[in-house]
Each structure stands twice: as structure tokens, then as C-alpha cells.
Amino acid sequence: MEVKDIYIKNMKTGDFKENEYLEEYVKELKNNGVNIFISKIDDVINWGRSNSVWPLTFATSCCGIEFMCLGAARYDFARFGWEVTRNSPRQADVVFVCGTIVHKMAPVLKRLYDQMAEPKYVMAFGSCAISGGPFKSSYHTVMGVDEVIPVDVYIPGCPPRPDAMIYGMMQLARKIKMQEFFRLPLQPDMKPYLEAEQEELKEKEEVADGTSK
């Protein structure tokens, strides 16, 4: 069990459910081979990164209230170093998508995501952000934020309890700890987006060439 290598101070490995995807992830990384020196630096950097994740204050509806509870005295995510909520996307590491995303909001969310600096993460809070939830049959709802931006952690619930949110946060902390900081832009889950972007650029160039000729 390679996942046991990843040490999270606040939670034992056995307390996490469904580790398969992380195991596959670790296997893939190991197969590719890593420089020992760099991987040691990685460990130190990732230890720091996973314990000081700065979330963006982004809430569209009900889940935002539970997010506020998470920030207040009882659940207190400051214990994990996540309390520095930023109002500007340029200073944030993770966006908690709390609530329904609708047609009018989707481009705004995309722009916020684009403005965040790499490495950046997305957590989908609640059933609306996951799949449209109770508003699935509406004409104006986006069926899950993953139609707009890539998502790292999904937290089900309507709204999820703050405890569930903490569990999701720990999952993301583990994911951060596994990444290779110096090779971040080539993370497997980033590839399709980069390729799509390059294709778009190519198309644009072709169009530009065509008009200039």
C-alpha cells in the first residue's frame, strides 16, 4: 500500500475511504521515476503547501453558510492552516465552489479560476456543484462545475456538514503531498486542458494566417 507513505498528521490512513485512485496515482508517478534529490525537496515544499492552503471566499448559495460555520469557532479550519480566506483569486490556492453554478455565473467562475496562480485546486461542495443536485431539471443550471473547470475533490451533501468538508480538505492535503512540485504543469489531470488550449491557439493562428494571406 503505497498510500501509507503519505503522512497526514490529523488523520490516519485507515480513516480515509477509497484510496484506489491515489494508489494508481502513486504507481504512475513511481513508474515514471523521480530524481531522489528533487523528490526530497518536493516533500519539504509539499509539507508546507498542504498545511497552508489559502481558500478563496467564493459562495453562491446555501453551502456558503456551512462554509462560514467551518470558519467559525466550533469547526475552525484554522487548525489545519486553511483559515487565510482570500477575497482576491490571485492570492488563493483553492476555490471552494459552495453552491449552484448557473449559466450567468459560469463565465465568472471560469475567470476567477483563470486568475488564480498555479498550482491551484478546486473543491466542489454539495450536490449542486457536483451535478446540479436538486436543480438538475432547471433550464438555467450548469450540471456540475466540472463542465466549466476541473475539480479535485467532490464533497457530497445538501449541504455537506462541516465535518464532511474537513474530510474533503484532508483528501486534498494528501493529493497535494503526493504531487511533484517541480513538474506540476505536466500533472496527468492537467494534460487535456493544456492540449485543448494549444489546439485553440493553433486554430486561432491558422485563422489569422488565412486572413493575412
Binding site: S61, H103, K104, P107, C158
Partner: protein, 542 residues
């Protein structure tokens, strides 16, 4: 009632029917403005609660729900229809009631009815380039027509204001620019922590002084009203919790009461008591959060943490009985979902003295703070006349001296068994809107204290049929939400789902109130005044 009826009999074209406490007045569309101004000026109907846009399949129409401040229990529903589905035009009443401006834009957005002489006929919720009007029965919901956009709405579209005017008996279309070329415009939102949600305010500034505000809605418009037309009544209940999530229980109570009224269902007294206690606990939780957020907007994070700490006690009580913290989903048609937890009464009784003690601490901690008072006193004046005209209900209206508490006007559930007073203030400043919420918490504690020991024994819910079908007709129910008057209008054709359901959101008028209260004051006061009005955006957008 008789007076209005008598006065209306002078209008030959008006068809008047009496339906309980509501007076239904039907007029042809040519006489709409005349009747509306007659009702406003001669019959004293100074409070326009809501405009409901209707699609009767063969014609389109509107229902104006009116009330008056002298006899608030009496309601007038003014109805009109137009058979032109291609280019429906009706007279605007925005100059009679200030609140009508936004309501008419909403009707245009959802049903495509344009209002003559209305200065601003933009869509309210959907993007300006949206195809179709969703609340029409023949609306094409094909997602290919309106795909998820990847670009923000162009500023051009937001600023171009179409209008339609009647000149020499002919409707003339025109467009104008909302802001002049050299105006300095600042965007607040849609992603801004002080707008309490995803509200987009475009503010025109002159130095630090606010000249003009243009609110943009729809960033969390989920189409609840259209969805409800395909859902059964028990299914709709789940959506109402998510309208204004801070007073979800009360919203749900309103729909339950409306359905019970239509079904003529006898609800057990025990259910009434439990519902009332839950409503009041919700109100306290909502006011505590409102108080904390207002303090946080001023920069006092400590007060926010204190408010949330006390709120957690209520969340625990909810969780024990209903199984959830925020979305309790507890009221059902005919009563409540399950009986209260054996510890419920004990915990609530423990909570009351605790909260009273903490309120004193909150006052000590924050209300007396000279910086806080300096930012709240003498800022954001709202007069009583303006509050009535804008339809600013709830604590914000009561801070201006308008007695509008539905719990007093039409006592529903167990409020008639409780002795409580309506908290009123006269000055109408930001500070009054702040202090009135803390006073209301005390009043809510009084209500709970009177009810908690007297919960009668018996069943907690009446038996209903497996499939609930409402009889044919129109049903209307008002309740007092934590932010103001929440109304439900159901038009039923006898099916298991409503033909049309409309929720009156108290928050939309609160945002409208922001405009007259802030214009002329400093930009920093906008945050303060907005926080004191305490609106919740998903309630506006629905």
C-alpha cells in the same frame, strides 16, 4: 372591505368578486392604469406586495397583489389579461409604486410582457441574449438554444436600456445608455464578500460620493418557479428551503400553510406549536448570522465568531429533532415530518437564558463601541413613506416605523397563543435596522418561552392522501420571514402540481431600497447599509 368594494363600484368596467379577505378586481387592459391609480389614490392601497406574471395559455396576464397600511389584513388582487402573445403590451404602474419597477422587469424577463412607459425594459435575471421567456407554457427548454456561455455578458448589453413609450397613441421603441461616457463606474460583485452572495452592483461614483446604482441579478437564478410547475407539492417543499436558506423553515411553512388552506386540512395543534417554535429558532439563527456578518463587514471578526458560536446551539437543537443542520426539511403538508426529540424541550429551555445572557454581552461587545456607532448612526435614512412605496417589509421596514409584522396582522400557526409585541423604531437609520434585529431576538425568545411548556399532546401530523391534488383556484398565503414578508401564490388547475407558483421574495425590495438610501452617501456606507438591510441573494433570484 365594504368601503373599497363600494368605491370600486363607481368603475363600470371593473368586475369585483369577494373571496374571503381578498377582493378580486378584473379589468380590461385599457383600463389597467386608471384602476391602479384609483386603487392607489382613492382606496389607499399603498403597498404593492407583488406582481405575478401569468400565462393562461390563450392569453398572458398579470396579477397585482395589493394591501394597505391602514387595514393590512385586507388584500386586493388586480387582474388583467392581454390576448396578444406575439407582442404583449401593458401599462406600467412604476410611477404609482416604486417597487413595481423591478417586478415589471421580472414579468418581462419571464413572460415577455413589455410595459409601456417603463423607463428600463431590460431583462432582470437572465442574460440579455437569452432566447425565449421561460415561464411561458410554450417555452422551448432545449439546452442547445441556450448553451452554457463561456464569456461574460458584454458590458454593452448590460448598459443598453430599451424602453417602449406611447407617443400619439402609437408605441415607440427607443434605447438609451445607462451611464454617460465620462462616468466613473465601480463594479461590486458578483464575487465580492460584502454583497452577501452573488449580487452585482454597478456603482457610479463622483469622488467618494455615490451618484447612481444599478443592481444586476440572476447570478444564482435557478428557475425554481418553472421547475415547480413539473413537480408535485411535496417535492416543491424541498426547493423552498433553498430559496432563502437562512429562513428555510419559514418559507417551507408558508407553502405548507397555503396547501393546507386549499385542502381545508385540519392541522393538529401540536404541529402548529412545533412549527412556531422552529420558525422562531430559525429567526434567531438568521438574525445572529446577520448581526455577525454586519460586524464582519465593519471589520470586527470577533463579533462574527461570537454570533456563529451561539448559532451552533440552535443548529444542535435542529439536528437532534430533524436530522439536519441547515436544511431541516421538517415541515410537511399536514404537520411536521416526525415528532420532536425527547430532549428538545429541555434543550430549548436551556438555550433561552443562555441567549439572553449572550445578548447582553453582544451589546457590551459591539453596540456600545464608538467606532461601530460612528459608522451606523446618521447613515442610510429611509422614511416610512418610502419604505411603504418600496415594499421594504420586515425588520428593515419596522426600523422606519412601518408596522408590517404578518405575525400580528394575520396570526398563523400558534402565534395567536403567544403574547408578544412588534418591535418598532422610528428613526430609519442603519443603527435602527441593526438594533431592531437584536431586539427581535429577545422577542422571539419570549414567544418560545411561552409556547415551549404548552406543546399539546396528540398527533404531530394530519393524515393526507398519498397524492396531494389541490382544488382548482387561486391560493395566497403570507408569513413573516426573518427578512420580511414572504408570500406564496398558487394557481391550481386541480392537478398534483401547480399551474403557476410564485414566491414573493422580501429581499428583492431590500436591494431596491439600497438605491434611495445610499445615493448621495459615501461608498464605504454602501457596505454598511447593504449589511443592515441583510438581503440573501438566492431568495431574490429564485
Amino acid at each position: 372591505m365594504g368601503q373599497v368594494n363600494e368605491k370600486l363600484s363607481t368603475l363600470a368596467f371593473a368586475v369585483v368578486e369577494e373571496n374571503g379577505k381578498t377582493l378580486n378586481v378584473t379589468v380590461p387592459k385599457e383600463n389597467l392604469y386608471e384602476t391602479a391609480s384609483f386603487l392607489r389614490k382613492s382606496c389607499n392601497c399603498d403597498f404593492l406586495m407583488d406582481i405575478v406574471g401569468m400565462d393562461y395559455t390563450d392569453s398572458l396576464g398579470t396579477v397585482y397583489n395589493l394591501s394597505n397600511t391602514q387595514d393590512p389584513a385586507q388584500l386586493v388582487a388586480l387582474k388583467t389579461t392581454t390576448s396578444d402573445r406575439e407582442n404583449p403590451l401593458l401599462d406600467s404602474v412604476h410611477d404609482l409604486w416604486e417597487s413595481a419597477g423591478l417586478y415589471e422587469r421580472e414579468v418581462y424577463d419571464f413572460l415577455g410582457i413589455r410595459f409601456l412607459n417603463h423607463p428600463d425594459m431590460r431583462r432582470l435575471f437572465l442574460r440579455q441574449d437569452w432566447k425565449g421567456h421561460p415561464l411561458r407554457k410554450d417555452y422551448d427548454a432545449n439546452p442547445a438554444l441556450n448553451p452554457v456561455p463561456m464569456e461574460n455578458e458584454p458590458i454593452e448589453d448590460m448598459e443598453t436600456v430599451p424602453a417602449i413609450e406611447l407617443k400619439m397613441g402609437q408605441p415607440v421603441e427607443s434605447t438609451r445608455k445607462l451611464f454617460a461616457e465620462d462616468e466613473y463606474i465601480v463594479n461590486f460583485g458578483p464575487q465580492h464578500p460584502a454583497t452577501h452572495g452573488v449580487l452585482h452592483l454597478r456603482v457610479s461614483l463622483e469622488g467618494e460620493i455615490i451618484k447612481k446604482i444599478d443592481p444586476n441579478f440572476g447570478y444564482i437564478h435557478r428557475g425554481i418557479e418553472k421547475m415547480s410547475e413539473a413537480y408535485t407539492y411535496p417535492q416543491i417543499l424541498h426547493l423552498t428551503d433553498r430559496l432563502d436558506y437562512l429562513s428555510g423553515t419559514i418559507n417551507r411553512h408558508a407553502v405548507c400553510l397555503c396547501c393546507e388552506k386549499a385542502l381545508e386540512l385540519e392541522v393538529p395543534e401540536r404541529a402548529h406549536y412545533i412549527r412556531t417554535i422552529f420558525d422562531e429558532l430559525t429567526r434567531i439563527a438568521s438574525h445572529l448570522l446577520g448581526w455577525g456578518c454586519m460586524a464582519m463587514d465593519m471589520g470586527s471578526i470577533t463579533a462574527f465568531v461570537y454570533g456563529m458560536r451561539d448559532r451552533e446551539k440552535i443548529m444542535d437543537i435542529f439536528e437532534e429533532t430533524a436530522g439536519a443542520r441547515l436544511m431541516v426539511n421538517y415541515n410537511v403538508i399536514g404537520g411536521v415530518a416526525q415528532d420532536i426529540h425527547p430532549d428538545f424541550q429541555r434543550k430549548v429551555k436551556e438555550f433561552i437564558p443562555y441567549m439572553r445572557k449572550m445578548l447582553k454581552e453582544h451589546h457590551l461587545l459591539f453596540t456600545g463601541n464608538p467606532i461601530a456607532r460612528g459608522r451606523m448612526e446618521g447613515v442610510g435614512y429611509l422614511s416610512r413613506e418610502q419604505a411603504v412605496s418600496l415594499g421594504t417589509t420586515g425588520p428593515s421596514g419596522r426600523a422606519s416605523g412601518w408596522s408590517n409584522d404578518v405575525r400580528k396582522i394575520e396570526p398563523y400557526a400558534a402565534y395567536r397563543h403567544a403574547d408578544f409585541k412588534e418591535v418598532l423604531r422610528r428613526e430609519g437609520m442603519t443603527f435602527d435596522r441593526y438594533i431592531i434585529r437584536l431586539d427581535e431576538i429577545l422577542e422571539s425568545l419570549n414567544i418560545i418561552e411561552q409556547l415551549i411548556d404548552n406543546i399539546p399532546e396528540g398527533a404531530y401530523a394530519a393524515k393526507t392522501k398519498a397524492i396531494i391534488r389541490l382544488p382548482e383556484g387561486e391560493f395566497f398565503q403570507r408569513v413573516e420571514n426573518a427578512r420580511g414578508e414572504f408570500d406564496v401564490y398558487i394557481n391550481s388547475k386541480g392537478d398534483k402540481s401547480p399551474y403557476r407558483i410564485k414566491f414573493r421574495s422580501p429581499c428583492m425590495t431590500l436591494v431596491n431600497t439600497l438605491i434611495p438610501t445610499t445615493v448621495g452617501s459615501k461608498v464605504a456606507d454602501l457596505i454598511m447599509i447593504g449589511a443592515s438591510l441583510d438581503y440573501v441573494v438566492p431568495c431574490i433570484d429564485r
